[in-house]
């Protein structure tokens, strides 16, 4: 177990390193000159040279990478070209909105979908189950920002029950106000994410309900509840947890989009603005932090799966899954 954990920790570090290199190369080689973002179109050659020197673009790619990498290891993500603010603290304060939004939505959606998915599978042939499946089908075909837009239209603009956009001036210093302004964004994400998770729960539950071990257990005289909770739950939870990991990452990205609908000053709004302004230090920083989060989420999901299912602990990565 511990050797396996070590192996996957190593894999996590390698993936992160590869991601760092890819992000660096994509942003450094493709867009031409990062200095462009600093200057207006009709800058003089001297100004361009000065700007290139300022951002270090006049050195070789390798030298740039080493400087950047060693700064990264000291948690120095550089300063925004536009605002001049350090990247990491800005990301930190943006995460104060994005993380609660993601986690609250995710927990609600996960709980909802476990219940709905189970019912949809259990009552698959009744109208109740069919309606639940129908809703989840619809939910995965709907753009998340459109749900937000419609909710804003009805509940914020027409009836004024919730704020249509923004976050309280003093942030979480005003917890009620903060939660109030997150209510519609959370609802938006929950609607969309619970739909796709419900589908997974339903298909996993359907597999379990039709499995041999449940039938055998029932034939040996245990009640459905006994059979399901003793044997079904653990078997169903293994594939579900790997899906949970991917869905948590999707929820994070959903939050990124939804923030733009509600003009919340979170990571998503920051990224969209940074891309529009060619603010490379901010883009790099946000992509790195997001990548880090996605990889860590995957790692945790993997580890939890192995704790639940001993069979997974011995398989090697080259085997066919």
């Amino acid at each position: 177990m511990s050797r396996d954990l070590l192996r996957r920790l190593l894999f996590l570090v390698v993936s992160l390193f590869v991601a760092v290199i890819i992000i660096f190369l994509l942003l450094r080689l493709l867009p031409g000159d990062p200095a462009n973002a600093l200057l207006s179109i009709n800058a003089s050659p001297e100004q361009i040279a000065a700007a290139r020197h300022q951002v270090g673009a006049d050195k070789s790619v390798m030298a740039q990478f080493i400087t950047w990498m060693s700064a990264l290891l000291h948690l120095d993500f550089g300063k925004s070209y536009i605002s001049g603010l350090s990247v990491l603290p800005s990301i930190g304060s943006a995460l104060l909105i994005t993380l609660p939004l993601t986690l609250i939505s995710f927990v609600i959606a996960a709980v909802l979908s476990v219940v709905a998915g189970f019912l949809a599978a259990y009552y698959a042939r009744r109208w109740f189950g069919i309606v639940l499946s129908g809703f989840s089908q619809l939910g995965i075909a709907v753009p998340v920002f459109w749900v937000g837009l419609i909710l804003v239209w009805i509940f914020a603009l027409r009836y004024n029950w919730f704020p249509s956009s923004g976050f309280p001036e003093n942030g979480w210093g005003d917890p009620a106000g903060a939660l109030w302004s997150l209510a519609l964004p959370i609802t938006t994400i929950v609607i969309v994410m619970s739909s796709s998770m419900t589908r997974y729960v339903k298909s996993v539950t359907t597999d379990v309900l039709g499995s041999d071990y449940i039938r055998t257990s029932r034939a040996l005289g245990s009640s459905f509840r006994e059979a399901f909770f003793r044997h079904g739950l653990r078997n169903a939870s293994v594939p579900f947890i790997s899906v949970l990991g991917i869905e948590l990452a999707s929820t994070l990205l959903g939050a990124v989009v939804v923030e733009s609908v509600f003009s919340l000053p979170g990571l998503g709004s920051m990224l969209v603005k940074a891309i529009a302004q060619h603010d490379y230090p901010n883009i790099q920083g946000i992509l790195l932090v997001t990548t880090f989060l996605v990889l860590v989420i995957g790692f945790i999901a993997d580890t939890v799966q192995r704790i639940i299912d001993p069979r997974l602990r011995i398989t090697s990565s080259s085997g066919i899954k």
Partner: protein, 283 residues
């Protein structure tokens, strides 16, 4: 040949399935609208003679936008963009995914190990994040969006192709064929591809829907094609500020996206049932 014939035979037994029929109905409706927009739309897109933010009426069936342009005409042109995105991104994902997936499956050892771990890592990343990374580097345009979505989705195709191909190559009849001296190319054509395409086509239909959704998201965020563009996502972005006075501008493009994506998902479910009878009634 026999696979195709069997599929056709099953298709006729399948005619009563509402899922597949509804899926085909929705998608072909959008497809036909896109085709019609090539030769005719109610108004020219630069025709601003309508009143600003008109509601639906006899001259403008879905009303007009803030510049007095006809919404229906914009939606029709938007269908064309959605088609480009769907087919473009799916095509890119198919080509890259098949190449890398087959490469990994046919060359076990370090090539396979490396590619497999790359696919696994990439799969964990939401399509939108990868697309944003590529667009951050490339700049926002429709083709950058299509390319980005296609590349992101190719990881999914690669993984499916790799796993399925490995499974097929391990079958006894393939091992037997290999022993008889059948070339790799012959095995690929005769055994792998015919067994691969049913699963592949189901997943391509799903990827099509994801691609349309992702492009709409990018355009909504202002990271898709720059204006003037009539992508449904951009129409929604522009309609947001006037949703109270002209709600139809915000509703109609959303419905169009849902029709196409839901339709494609239904087609995928229908095809899955069609190819795999054990899946029937399980969608």
């Amino acid at each position: 040949m026999s696979t195709a014939k069997a599929a056709r035979a099953r298709l006729s037994t399948f005619h009563g399935s509402p899922t597949f029929a509804i899926g085909i109905f929705f998608t072909s409706f959008i497809f036909i609208v896109a085709l019609v927009s090539l030769i005719w739309s109610p108004y020219k897109l630069d025709d601003t003679t309508g009143n600003r933010l008109e509601g639906p009426n006899a001259t403008h069936l879905l009303g007009t936008d803030t510049l007095g342009r006809d919404l229906l005409s914009q939606l029709m042109v938007g269908a064309r963009i959605a088609m480009k995105v769907g087919f473009g991104a799916t095509g890119i994902a198919l080509i890259i995914g098949c190449f890398l997936g087959l490469l990994a499956a046919f060359f076990p050892g370090w090539i396979d190990d490396t590619l497999a771990s790359i696919f696994d890592t990439l799969i964990a990343f939401p399509t939108l994040l990868l697309a944003m990374l590529i667009i951050a580097a490339e700049g926002a345009s429709l083709w950058a969006a299509i390319l980005a979505i296609g590349i992101a989705a190719s990881a999914i195709v690669s993984r499916i192709v790799r796993i399925l191909t490995k499974r097929i190559l391990a079958q006894q009849y393939v091992v037997a064929a290999k022993t008889c001296g059948t070339s790799r190319w012959e095995i690929l054509r005769g055994h792998v591809l015919p067994n691969l395409w049913p699963t592949l086509i189901v997943n391509l239909a799903i990827i099509y829907g994801v691609a349309v959704l992702t492009e709409a998201g990018l355009s909504y965020l202002g990271l898709g094609a720059p204006p003037p563009s009539y992508s449904w996502g951009r129409l929604l972005r522009e309609a947001q500020s006037t949703v109270l006075t002209a709600p139809l501008g915000a509703i109609a493009p959303g419905i169009a996206i849902i029709l196409l994506v839901l339709g494609m998902n239904f087609v995928a479910d229908g095809l899955r049932e069609l190819f795999d009878p054990t899946q029937r009634g399980n969608s």
